[in-house]
Amino acid sequence: MRALVALLLLIISAAPGWAAGPLSYHLKPVAIAPDTWVFEGTREHFTRGNGGNILNPGFIVTDDGVIVIQTGPSRRFGEEMRAAIATVTDKPIRKVFVSNLHPDYWLGNRAFADVPIAALPGTIEGIKTEGQGMTENMYRLVGDWMRGTEPLVPTETVYGSTVVFGAHRLRLIPLEGHTAADLAILDETTGVLFAGGVVFSDRTPTTPHADIGQWLEALDALDALEVTVLVPNHGRIRTDKAAIAQTRDWLSWLDRSLRERAEAGADMAELLDAPIPERFAGMGVLREEYRRSVSHLWPRIEKAVLPRVN
């Protein structure tokens, strides 16, 4: 079993994340465990080249129907996912889980409008408030890939619990840190963990809604689980927990270095080109995500080092 998985991973890694061709994601489901498939995205930022395909959505085929995890960055992506799922199984889609409010997790919802789409309350609230703005920004970032995409708010609220579909017991794990509500899903039957927002693998974490302290606690919670295959939200799928360690390392360094620079009197603009340790060089979109993180995290850190003077 373990060997099979490793072999599969090799194949995935060798395959290009995105194939040339006008406006098709060319989605190929890759089996990573029994009944379990993933569409692996690139380790880039949203571009007009990749159409927003940067996430690792997946699905589990159960006797009760297909469980879909994330719907991708556009309606087209959702529709292509659905077509690709149909090449694997003729079972109907039973339920969709959306892990958090970031646009690449749920903008494909329109393709699944006929089935229940479940999310944590905080995710639903966030999509209601910020969904429209995020959608508009995605049109701007990736262009025509988004045609026909409109926000569709998840229709079902879930909390932390264990749900059973056919032979698969899925543990729904509510976390926070990457956003105010991140849903991780552990298939207790196969040991596959869909990290749902908090784990990045060789891809720099994104922080627009982040609380670093809570995020580190969420990583600890995932680290304590028994996992055979870890599907990070972005980046390389792994059979170990190295991605958790890498995410933790990055967040700790980021937080600490910003605090140190603030204490030393740096201005936000001076941080944009600050050096990043060599050990993170292998992570995708490193400098760009670092700069975004400065924008997200700096104002609060800065305030903490400037005392009231009147």
Binding site: I124, K128, T129, P154, T155, T157, Y159, S161, R171, L172
Partner: protein
């Protein structure tokens, strides 16, 4: 992870189903639908009304604030607060908070907290619906036991007594016993100020609502016994605090009322009061 009570599950599910338009929409303005569709419950709370709603380190905190958050959670929506400066009467407050909005603009809230739940008052304000009483309030006397041995209003010794200005205890004590106490009343802008004066020894007793005096004394209550008091010859000794919505929002009132009932049953409500150092007095079922 803990499993959640079925009731809460059902409530949330119902709210989510409404959001998606799964349940049929009725014609006309339906504020519950509007609330769910907007994903936000706008709640009016009084500004500067400890321990129910006030600012602490910039953050809005208090019993009413926590109850509102819990209600929104059970409806599966977010919550936003509109802080309300108390007008001359609660009828003004109802107008500003739920049915017409303040003259300076800013719109109305979906629900207003801390409204007297009283039939006559309700009849006098047909533009609003009063519902969901969540606390039975009464007056209490906090005293320095060395200076005032008996918690009896009628036998108040010749010592200064603190009250909040323009409060019922103020009016009662100004007029009570032929005005005998009038010259000994010391007026404070807030109950916390009056309670600090009690602790410092400026006054021998403070008369105020039980919740306010409990919260203001906090863990110093051991040294300053708090006793419920009645105002003979003036009014009933207790009254109920509930909520209000605009007259066309009865369905929202039902949903919010159900959430409060559930919170009472599962102990959430008393726990919220406890957090703020206040005794929760449930409304007896009649």
């Amino acid at each position: 992870m803990t499993a959640f009570p079925t009731r809460r599950h059902l409530l949330s599910f119902a709210a989510a189903a409404l959001a998606a338009g799964v349940l049929p929409r009725r014609a006309g303005a339906r504020p519950l639908d509007d609330v769910v569709a907007a994903g936000r419950l706008m709640v009016a709370v009084y500004r500067d009304n400890p321990p129910f709603s006030h600012r602490k380190g910039g953050a809005l905190v208090g019993v009413d604030v926590d109850i509102a958050r819990a209600i929104a959670g059970r409806l599966g929506v977010g919550v936003e607060f509109m802080e309300l400066t108390a007008g001359e009467t609660v009828s003004d407050d109802l107008r500003n908070a739920v049915w017409r909005g303040p003259v300076v603009g800013g719109g109305v809230a979906d629900v207003m907290m801390h409204v007297p739940y009283q039939k006559e008052f309700g009849l006098r304000n047909p533009e609003a619906v009063l519902f969901g009483p969540y606390q039975r309030e009464g007056f209490a006397l906090a005293r320095n036991p060395m200076r005032m041995t008996q918690p009896m209003l009628a036998s108040l010794p010749d010592e200064p007594v603190g009250v909040e200005i323009d409060s019922i205890p103020d009016f009662y004590l100004l007029g009570a016993f032929g005005g005998r106490l009038r010259d000994r009343l010391v007026h404070y802008m807030t109950i916390p100020e009056a309670v600090e004066a009690l602790v410092k020894g400026d006054v021998a007793a403070v008369v105020a609502t039980q919740s306010q005096v409990e919260a203001a004394l906090g863990d110093r209550a051991a040294g300053f016994p708090i006793t419920p008091v009645t105002f003979p010859g003036m009014m009933a000794s207790n009254w109920d605090i509930g909520m209000a919505v605009k007259e066309n929002s009865r369905d929202l009132a039902y949903a919010v009322g159900d959430a409060v009932t559930a919170m009472l049953e599962d102990g959430t409500l008393p726990a919220i009061f406890r957090t703020h150092g206040v005794t929760h007095n449930a409304i007896p079922v009649e």
